[in-house]
């Protein structure tokens, strides 16, 4: 059984009648509006969390609501409501339309299904793949494994969560899109103690697939081994150096570099408004030769993937930087219209209760030709960073940071010792021009990324091959 009370849903069945949607839409959209849509969402989520060897927290939530939107020029009117009765929907429509001058109403449009896109993930509740007892057993097994790996493991925290969002989008022209989005996540973190000194390590993974996946392969066990390894490694970590030096990034999750340094700065809203350091740089060199960066929302079962974005546009593989030259921005419908371009399928919202913004999906750099060993050997004195915590960027100045959670000091191409977590800081428009070697080992992250923008969180992916950056500021304490 699944925990949440998920009514048997025919996925083509709306929570509101077609007739109601038609009248809400025509009430909402004056003749002068450029665009507008209704976004209906029904989401269920479940979470089990283990600590002190016991599944202590079991929770579930069910949410549904409507977002109504009217666009005119650079302006947008939004209304969000949790009530789906026709009176509340009409009120929402009236609030959204205040942005456009009142004018003649549009005649009602016929609502018609848009042609379906290829499905990138299964449209069913991922919680159904692993029942409650199995999930409990999984977390208990991971707890025991962590404790058996090393006697210094003092605390184990494990959490398995799933969500399933059923989305319906009705556009101004009556085009009607549906997407059913599963998302799962498994997280493990441990506290280790040695001679009174405590450290922590954590690991996670997930994507748009059934929870069943966690019971099948060794993925869950690998997360435990990684969390314990990181925590023990950090017990022996030395102070990180402070100053500017060469840095080698490992493959996979360090792709957060691209997300912060490049990705946000290429989002259409900032570039249309001229507030990004990348504004007006289309066609210019922003990265070293050989560097190609893509944002690809079409990879099967990835955390950042979507069949259609939250405006109903099919996602695609967008080339942002090709051989070092800036070639594209990430666009939603409004910014695309204002910039005279087509949406790139990057219009996203956290939920019906948030406005659409241009956002990333899965952002990564294509593989180069260097062997990872050669790249590490080239490092005379510097940092080799393999795992990271979070990052952040100021898109106007281009300054970005990301913080190591597994990093080593390297001399003469040889790893010397692990170093404590340090923030690396650079400028987005400069950092990729300082890349001198690109590995042949592209990896995508394990499915843990969450991107924050304008107070909204959406799941994303990143990826990177091993990369050498000749100069980056490392924020350690050892000056």
């Amino acid at each position: 059984m699944t925990i949440a009370d998920m009514p048997d849903q025919n996925l083509d069945t709306l929570p509101v009648s077609i007739e109601t949607l038609q009248s809400v839409l025509s009430h909402m959209l004056p003749a002068g509006a450029d665009d507008g849509d209704l976004y209906l969402e029904h989401s269920v989520s479940e979470s089990l969390a283990l600590e002190e060897g016991r599944v202590k927290h079991v929770s579930a939530s069910t949410h549904q609501g409507l977002g109504a939107r009217v666009i005119k020029g650079e302006a947008a009117g939004h209304a969000f409501t949790d009530r789906l009765d026709s009176r509340a929907l009409m009120q929402a429509a009236a609030s959204a339309r205040t942005i456009a001058e009142s004018g003649q109403q549009r005649p009602p449009v016929a609502i018609h299904k848009a042609s379906p896109t290829p499905l990138l993930y299964e449209g069913s509740n991922p919680a159904a793949g692993l029942d409650f007892t199995q999930r409990k057993a999984l977390l208990e097994r991971l707890d025991q494994l962590a404790r058996s790996l090393d006697p210094r493991v003092k605390q184990v925290f494990a959490n398995v969560s799933s969500s399933f969002s059923d989305i319906h989008i009705v556009r101004m022209d009556g085009a009607f899109m549906h997407d059913a989005r599963p998302l799962v996540r498994l997280n493990v973190s441990v506290v280790v103690e040695q001679n009174g000194k405590r450290e922590t390590g954590s690991a996670g993974g997930g994507g748009r697939f059934s929870l069943h996946r966690f019971s099948g392969d060794n993925q869950a066990e690998e997360l435990v081994r990684k969390a314990v390894r990181l925590a023990l490694l950090n017990l022996d970590a030395h102070d990180a150096p402070a100053g500017t030096m060469p840095v080698v990034l490992g493959p996979g999750w360090p792709g957060i570099l691209l997300h912060e340094a490049i990705g946000h700065g290429l989002e259409g809203d900032f570039n249309r408004k001229g507030t990004s350091v990348f504004s007006d740089k289309l066609g210019q060199r922003v990265a070293a030769k050989g560097i190609t960066v893509v944002d690809d929302g079409t990879i099967s079962e990835r955390r950042g993937s979507l069949n259609v974005d939250d405006e109903g546009t099919a996602t695609q593989r967008n080339i942002l930087i090709e051989d070092g030259i800036l070639t594209g921005y990430l666009l939603d419908r409004q910014n695309a219209r204002l910039m005279g371009k087509a949406s790139t399928g990057n219009g996203r919202r956290e939920s019906y209760a948030h406005p659409v913004l241009p956002r990333m999906t899965n952002t990564f750099m294509l593989a180069g030709h260097d062997s990872p060993d050669d790249i590490l050997s080239s490092l005379d004195k510097g940092i080799y960073a393999v795992n990271f915590g979070g990052g952040q960027v100021d898109i106007t100045s281009g300054k970005f940071v990301f913080t190591t959670s597994e990093a080593y000091y390297v001399e003469n191409g040889k790893i010397q010792y692990p170093v404590k977590g340090a923030t690396l800081i650079g400028a987005g428009h400069e950092v990729l021009q300082k890349v001198s070697m690109i590995g042949n080992d592209l990896e995508l992250d394990p499915g843990v990324g969450t991107c924050g923008k304008g107070g909204q969180s959406v799941p994303v992916g990143v990826g990177l091959p091993t990369l050498r950056i000749d100069e980056l500021t490392v924020g350690g304490t050892e000056a």
């Binding site: 929770s59 949790d82 402070a242 507030t275 406005p355 915590g389 990052g391 300054k399 304490t477």
Partner: protein, 461 residues
Amino acid sequence: MSHSDTIKSISGHAERLVACARAAGAVYVDALAVCDTGDSVSIRNGAVESVEREDAQGMGVRAFVETDRGLAFATASSSDLSEAGLKRLADQVVAMARISEPDPDAVPPVGADHPNADELAAWRARYPDQHHGWSIEKARDAAMQCEEIARNYSAEISNSEGADASFGSSHVAYASSDGFAADYAKSSASLSVSVIAGSGEGMQRDYAWHRAFHASDLKTPEMIAQEAAKRAIAMLNPGSMESGRTTVIFEPRTATSMLGHLIGAINGRAVLQERTFLADALNQSIFPDFVHIEDNPDHPDGMGNRLFDGEGTRCTGRNIIDAGRLNCFLTDRYTAKRLHQPETGSAMRGLTGDIGIGSSNLIWHPGRQTQEEMMATIGNGLLVTEMIGFGVNGVTGDYSRGAAGFLIENGKIVRPVSGITIAGNLKEMFANIEMVGSDLTWFGSSAVPSIAISGMTVAGQ
């Protein structure tokens, strides 16, 4: 619906949800119902860029059932407030609790130190349910004025990210199966603006904001506009600085993060889980003796006022840091029981999920020196006005964050710096506080002065 109708309606929901869960087989239950309405208008380049209207509702329930191995519980939430929705949620949470793992230490919602009826009435009299004082039109005019003043502040202001005026009301009702039921309403208004100085790769963006219970208590649009514009201009043409050890002055805007790190580190849950560098620091001097920090749930300037917490426990003020000494951990009922510490009424409740722990209004008592006097005293150092990133390890206290601000030489600001990091360890940073400024500044539910910390490592050139 009027405020009082809304309160009546959501109080009814919370109490009915408790009754439904009892009927479904729960022994102990507590429930929350919330109803939020909010509006916002944003203005960019003198025109309305967006209007938003939110109408949100929801309810959450925590239900305990008796099993042959003790009490087990679960939490669940829903936005469907219909009678059928209430019943479905109650059935669901009880079914979930039945298959949960019993916890011998579980603390059900019974026997809590609830405020009594007189206290509830006195609180309502002191903090009446007042309107935020704004309409869409008034908010739009304030944002319009603020953005215009910021854009026209000087020729160096080159672009705008817009001004935003938001206002709304939040109604919350709590009910417990031990008979306690209470509700409150809070309204607030806020105004913010963000502008850009300079051009191309030399652009600098900065912002200013203010939030208050009533629009008439907000800083004026001029004050907010001028602060944002001045800040952006002051950061033009930043350089780096030499790596090394130095004294860092955090202005109030960045010093609030120190309060956040402290509160995270004395969270009872983190202490219980040994996930904090202050797990063994109770009753120890962790700051110099001139540092005093209080958690005050009843302060006329604070946005974090509350009579009771997310478990219905009475909130009482306390000095968290008294003359440098750590006086208490913050607890909900469960962590208080496990740690054998007093209940501090610090449970923070979402509709579903784990109960969190947090402070009400945090006030870092000011010192005597102005920021200028602090700079004169340290001679050489760094004034940090902006920080970026999340480089704090709560278990060890290791600290490394991106920063921007101004280089201080011979007691005076000489030039802006950016693209640097500041690093240290929070335990040492707390102990190395040299001075606390007189410039106490409120940010919503926390008030903090400038703080000077010696011995931090800057990484730059």
